[in-house]
């Protein structure tokens, strides 16, 4: 695993050492063993936003559940805010939003926040005040009196983030927080995270939305097949020379000029060709030499996405499967 070594002096919010998790399923005499995490070694620093990126089934949710004590590690140690997660004083300082959170449909949004606030030890006017504050923050004041059973996916997600924030957490752990949100909800949620970062909340996000990572996170880790592949600062990635794929838009009417070129069929079929950054100049030179009109060139992915695809070794596979350069 490649890791940045520039921040090892910073205080750790989460320290994970040699963490592994295997699941046994099936009958006891014929168990099927699934390895969900292999030797995870990771530090999440305080006052930073960390994004754990990975494909579905990569082990992101397992990692979060292990951190929160919802699952027990097969081997390895986890320290959260300097203590063990089983200590309720530690849990007092943590907010957690699960992927697609579910709540009892018989309660209103306000009652749910009241409940979760009371679990954080709040009561009376302090609780009422905090619930009002959180409802305002997640833009749910108007619907707070309605039963959760009538909420949309986006509203549930907002109440979910509300219950995570009710205890003014020092560490916020979110599993796919943007799931089910419309573009407006997505932007509002992103703004909430950015505001939380400003007040020094440590954020741990599980996601596969690259845009979210680029805008919110300071640092990212890439997990694939249960293994942490790379950890890097987002600023470093944005300044790096990670090869990005481009789409070269060519006038399909001029395809006759391209006979013999390897991408002639792709241009005839799609009106353009997908190439990696490394061969972009070469491709453009070839097209120009045949007097073909290049209508435009645009990047197909962000740098973070390209970094992610490279880390999990998916870029070449994608290039082949989309009919691009062979």
């Amino acid at each position: 695993m490649k890791e940045d070594m520039s921040m090892t002096d910073l205080p750790c919010a989460i320290q994970i050492r040699n963490l592994a998790k295997t699941y046994k399923t099936g009958f006891w005499f014929k168990p099927k063993v699934t390895v969900a995490l292999k030797g995870l070694h990771l530090d999440i620093y305080e006052n930073q936003a960390f994004g754990l990126l990975g494909l579905n089934g990569a082990g992101k949710t397992t990692a979060i559940k292990l951190i929160l004590g919802l699952l027990k590690p097969t081997v390895g140690q986890i320290s959260v805010l300097g203590g063990r997660i089983s200590d309720r004083r530690i849990r007092q300082q943590i907010g957690y939003l699960s992927e697609l959170p579910y709540f009892s449909k018989q309660h209103t949004g306000r009652e749910l926040l009241d409940y979760f606030g009371a679990l954080h030890g709040m009561s009376g006017s302090a609780l009422r005040h905090r619930v009002d504050e959180v409802l305002e923050l997640v833009r749910m004041t108007k619907s707070a009196g309605e039963k959760v059973g009538g909420y949309s996916k986006g509203m549930l997600q907002r109440i979910g983030i509300g219950q995570a924030l009710i205890g003014k957490p020092r560490l916020l752990i979110c599993d796919e927080p943007m799931s089910g949100l419309d573009p407006v909800g997505y932007k509002e949620m992103r703004d909430i995270f950015i505001d939380l970062k400003k007040i020094g909340t440590t954020i741990f996000l599980n996601t596969h939305i690259m845009d979210e990572v680029e805008r919110i996170c300071d640092r990212i880790g890439i997990i694939h097949d249960g293994e942490l592949k790379e950890v890097s600062m987002v600023t470093d990635i944005l300044q790096s020379s990670v090869p990005v794929d481009y789409w070269v838009d060519v006038d399909a009417a001029q395809v006759s000029k391209l006979s013999g070129l390897p991408f002639q069929d792709a241009i005839q079929k799609n009106g353009g060709v997908q190439v990696t950054g490394m061969v972009l100049a070469e491709t453009l030179a070839l097209l120009t030499s045949r007097n073909a009109t290049v209508k435009g060139v645009r990047p197909l992915s962000s740098l973070v996405e390209a970094y992610f695809l490279r880390a999990i070794g998916a870029q070449e596979h994608l290039a082949v499967s989309t009919g691009g350069r062979k």
């Binding site: 004590g69 004083r89 957690y96 699960s98 959170p101 579910y102 309660h107 979910g160």
Partner: protein, 258 residues
């Protein structure tokens, strides 16, 4: 203690709003209908009929509500994973379990006491009789039975992996718990060693629900409950509940929230 009450109130509110009180309402309608019919047809002691019907109605509606409560909350907490967010909060597992039991018990108590009020109304207002003292003892015993079964049902929720399984385990435990006398009778017979061993395991694991059964003796003039009997029943109810609670707590401690 405050967190136990918080979880209890949350559970109780969820159950009340899940229309559990309809069971009580239906039971009341059936009870009043039957009482009316029997008062027209019967030549026997109408007060005794009201009382017998009422006590059976109290127990059946309480048990029905318990089974429904287990099904509803298993679906929300375990199937839909609402428990995840609560387990990540500064809430201990024992607070969570005791809070849930409190919620179940409060719901059951509401149904049993509500039904009891209807029975008293029938006996006093319709039958023109007096409610025997043993009726109130019987109600307390019934509440103790509901407490034991609330702990047991919750423990099945912690152990079980499906809603149907939890409801079936609870149902058959209730059924067999009322057959302890029959199991004792079987144990007094000649049995193969393996069968005897198995039956003894069942006998000692099952709750003895007959210990809480005073229904048939409410009008027994010879029966007077002494403090020693109360002590036995209370001790049994709390000891059994405690052991079952421990099993539930260990199961929750060991449970992985995948």
């Amino acid at each position: 203690m405050r967190k136990i009450l918080t979880v209890g109130l949350f559970t109780f509110r969820e159950l009340v709003r899940s229309k559990m009180l309809f069971v009580w309402l239906i039971s009341v309608v059936v009870l009043c209908g039957l009482a009316f019919l029997l008062s027209l047809l019967s030549y026997g002691d109408i007060l005794k009929i009201f009382m017998d019907l009422g006590l059976v109605g109290m127990e059946v509606s309480g048990l029905l509500v318990l089974l429904l409560s287990l099904a509803v909350t298993y679906n929300t907490e375990m199937d839909q994973k609402a428990i995840f967010l609560q387990m990540a909060k500064p809430l201990t597992k024992e607070e969570y379990l005791l809070g849930r039991v409190l919620g179940f018990f409060a719901m059951n108590a509401l149904v049993v006491l509500g039904m009891g009020a209807v029975v008293v109304g029938l006996v006093v207002l319709v039958g023109g009789g007096v409610v025997p003292v043993l009726f109130y003892d019987c109600v307390v015993f019934l509440l103790l039975e509901m407490l034991v079964l609330s702990f047991l049902g919750l423990t099945f929720q912690m152990i079980g992996t499906t809603m149907v399984g939890v409801v079936l385990y609870s149902f058959f435990t209730i059924l067999l718990g009322h057959c302890v006398g029959e199991i004792e009778w079987l144990l007094s017979k000649q049995l193969a060693p393996a069968a005897r061993f198995l039956l003894q395991v069942v006998y000692y694991c099952l709750p003895n629900l007959e210990i809480f059964n005073l229904k048939d003796r409410v009008y027994d003039p010879t029966l007077v409950l002494h403090w020693a009997q109360w002590q036995d029943v209370l001790l049994y109810a709390f000891a059994y509940s405690f052991v079952v609670f421990l099993i539930g707590w260990i199961s929750l401690e060991k449970r992985e929230f995948k």
